[in-house]
Point group: C2
Chain length 505, copies 2
């Protein structure tokens, strides 16, 4: 009875026509409560890549969830480096199938600053609400949430990327429980340190290269196109980071007794940062754009077809102009970028005090496109900092260095990876695109490059295989920030997307 | 027996010659343990001006400490504004005296960020150590601390300014217990919200103007001259603050999907801040220096006599050049300043994540000299922000404003006060200077203007009386920041300084 009510209240999924497939969709409709309960349980386990104990708990929880589904050969794939998070692997052989698709998602999440989450929310205490979270609103229980089209689930990883993990696993469950055989062999690979920059993924891929043979990787990460349309993405930007710390006095100084005599690190950092971009958002660092590979004709054509959402986004996000008023979003993500993730020098607001701080720190994110090399890109920034008159060091300056140099910057380099691209004409990718299209009543978006980054470059390098990305999350999911969430609708649609790929022709 | 040992181990105080005075110095020597215990007890009470409950506890503790000393008319002076911290007042009439000196110090302290204090230190858990605090060192007990010349006491308020309060009270105690009559009537006035900018001091002075009649205020706040010499200070800079928040997107964005398209508030703030000063530390804000009153000939003369400590300070503080390499410290504090107290945009370090933050905040401190008006000085900064193309508002921008303006800055103004000066030739000030000089074997420093700020301007305005400032703390006391401390030696010398003023001729 309960299930019947839910079925009546909720819209039918997708547009798949064949009756067996319809049966699988019905299975999802009838098991939403159970699937949501399980998803929430998963989200309750903290999943920061550096939190070893909880990462292990996530991996074990995931193994159990996969075994329960009858997935074979479930195991933890550890990198050779001790102490790094394992990937969780499993596989399903389809009798007669000659092709294999690996479904990738990651179970770790971005670091959290719990103080920034809205009152009533916590990254690891999932909350269901009727729409965008309102601090004065009432949380819903699972049945109430399922009865509303606009419901969202708030938690770290809801969208990025435990939502991906669970929609892949539930797609398989729905097919299996409905007696529908996949058309390909299926492998599952869930990474545990993607948000830390995947420093050990390469080790895992090398160690388990045989086990990980496939025709194509299907990556579930990132959001749908901002137009709300489903998209298949053929490339991702690369990514690396630099943290720059500018040093002034060795101890914090009274801003009265020393103000306009002692150097101020915040002002030095402000001058350094502002030297990095012009007023139209163009990066002024020497050779920043010089090694970019030009777009192919097919990519240019695909870009033209992407619905332009710039005006809608500007209105939704509340700013008048993009950083460069002449650049559209889909063009912008085809360029390398330099973005300030954070700045800190002493305190502001109630914690602010009358000091000249000792240092000022900027956390800088560099996105890369085809042609860029992540280490070269870092080096260009270092060269720029030097060209601004800074002595650059990789550790806290010594007394001797403080005496010798007028301006000192400590530059800490993170690891990183290059961009990756799969050709829009890749035959296997074309079949996946076609399968996804059957689940959507509106045309799907073919995106040459996602603005975001995934370590797809190394699949190509170490496994000699190509990936495509099939995201499922709503674009306004706050991934990487406070108040991360997923629309339940996207979660259900995501399950159907992966069912279509698992049964593709 | 115990006391004799201490007497032998410790150097004799000051250089006062007369035998009665010597007796008072001996009283201090013999009661150091007791005085230090009491001081530590006082420091254990948290003293942030906004923490009403603890501020009240401080005030009551202080009343009890004054009554115990036999000080008369002890009372809390409340401002007319409800809920604001009271000043603690008391007085001692000297038979035959026709002149009155009010001793001022403040019992509140700067806000604390406990996470920034060194491991093993806490702002309200005082710790005694043999010198500059080392995280691997062992704390001393009181007796051990008293046996070492270089001992320091670490706690919020140790120097700024509970150390001032207790050295004034102990000076009176030492005289009284040694049977030495002061030469003037003594009044005590201990403020409770100096570090919050003294927003209600004026109300207290107006309400209690009769009670607060005097020939001169002696202010104990700030550090000794960096040369280590005692100083009498004839003026202070004024002070006010501005907090500037620059807004970008309404929600934090994924730095990959939106990086180099969505505006970055950190970059906008960096460009705004760097427009405020040139590379030599000169403030570029229009008319910033235009209303400064030129120094008098006597002041210029006094400035020349101040020992130049620039080279020693640069070496101690660990930087090669001051902000303006051509400006000496003592010249710099005679100019208005603009100093960045803090900057924040999202997070850095381990808490940093791949976002484009929603806003970036700078906390800016404006110091003022004679001729500057604090509200005009704030307005000059606002005009400058507008001239950089920002729409300036005093609250979070509305959706309408976000649509209308490309760059938006919220400017929050703090209250403030102007600079104050007492003439170097003021007869009463000259007598105080002479008294302090008797306690020092090296010449004392006469400073026309302290770099720091105190609301001395309003003593003049509401009580028609002049102040001079007589600081006691070591210059490297970290006041206003983490790891605040006082050298015990400075505390004992400070007591003697105030004894000399209470008995001045």
């Amino acid at each position: 009875m309960k299930k019947t009510i839910l079925l009546l209240l909720l819209p039918l999924l997708g547009s798949a026509q064949n009756p067996a497939y319809k049966q699988a969709s019905n299975y999802i409709q009838q098991h939403k409560e159970m699937m949501l309960e399980e998803f929430i349980q998963f989200l309750e386990i903290p999943n920061i890549a550096t939190d070893k104990i909880n990462i292990q708990r996530n991996a074990e929880w995931l193994m159990a969830a996969m075994k329960k589904r009858g997935i074979g050969d479930v195991m933890l794939m550890y990198p050779t480096t001790k102490g790094a998070p394992p990937a969780v692997y499993g596989e399903v052989r389809t009798p007669g199938a000659t092709e294999t698709v690996i479904f990738y998602a990651h179970y770790d999440g971005q670091p959290v600053d719990t103080t920034k989450w809205a009152l009533g929310l916590h990254p690891f205490k999932p909350v269901l609400v009727p729409g965008i979270y309102q601090t004065d609103g009432k949380p819903l229980n699972i049945r109430e949430a399922l009865a509303q089209e606009t419901s969202r689930l708030y938690a770290r990883g809801a969208s990025d990327d435990k939502g991906g993990v669970m929609s892949i696993l539930n797609a398989y469950t729905a097919l299996k429980e409905s007696g529908i055989a996949p058309s390909v062999n299926i492998k599952f690979f869930f990474e545990g340190e993607e948000e830390a920059g995947s420093p050990h993924l390469q080790e895992i891929l090398e160690s388990y290269a045989n086990k990980l043979e496939s025709n194509m990787w299907v990556i579930c990460d990132g959001p749908l196109h901002q137009s709300g349309r489903k998209q298949v993405v053929f490339g991702v930007r690369g990514d690396t980071h630099i943290e720059v710390t500018v040093f002034a006095s060795k101890r914090p100084l009274h801003s009265g007794h020393y103000g306009n005599w002692a150097p101020n690190p915040g002002m030095q950092l402000a001058k350094l940062l502002s030297s990095m971009k012009d007023d139209k958002g163009k990066v002024l660092i020497k050779d920043f754009y010089s090694d970019v590979t030009p777009l192919t004709a097919a990519e240019k054509e695909a870009l033209k077809k992407i619905p332009n959402v710039d005006e809608a986004l500007k209105s939704e996000l509340g700013f008048r102009y993009p950083e460069n008023p002449d650049l559209s979003l889909s063009d912008a993500v085809n360029l390398p970028s330099l973005n300030i993730n954070g700045i800190q020098s002493a305190n502001v607001g109630k914690l602010s005090s009358n000091v000249i701080p000792t240092k000022a720190i900027a956390s800088i994110d560099l996105r890369l496109v085809a042609g860029n090399d992540w280490q070269k890109q870092q080096q260009k920034v270092i060269n720029h900092i030097k060209a601004q008159g800074f002595f650059v060091t990789d550790k806290e300056p010594t007394d001797e260095e403080r005496k010798q140099y007028a301006k000192i910057a400590m530059v800490e380099l993170s690891s990183g990876y290059n961009a990756q691209k799969t050709s829009l004409d890749h035959p296997f990718a074309k079949r996946i695109t076609k399968a996804v299209a059957t689940t959507s009543s509106t045309p799907i978006v073919l995106t040459p490059t996602l603005g975001g980054s995934l370590p797809l470059f190394i699949f190509e390098k170490y496994l000699n295989t190509k990936p495509v990305t099939v995201p499922i999350a709503n674009h306004d999911n706050n991934q990487h920030a406070e108040n991360e969430n997923i629309k339940l609708k996207n979660f259900w649609n995501g399950i159907e997307t992966f069912m279509s790929i698992m049964t593709m022709q």
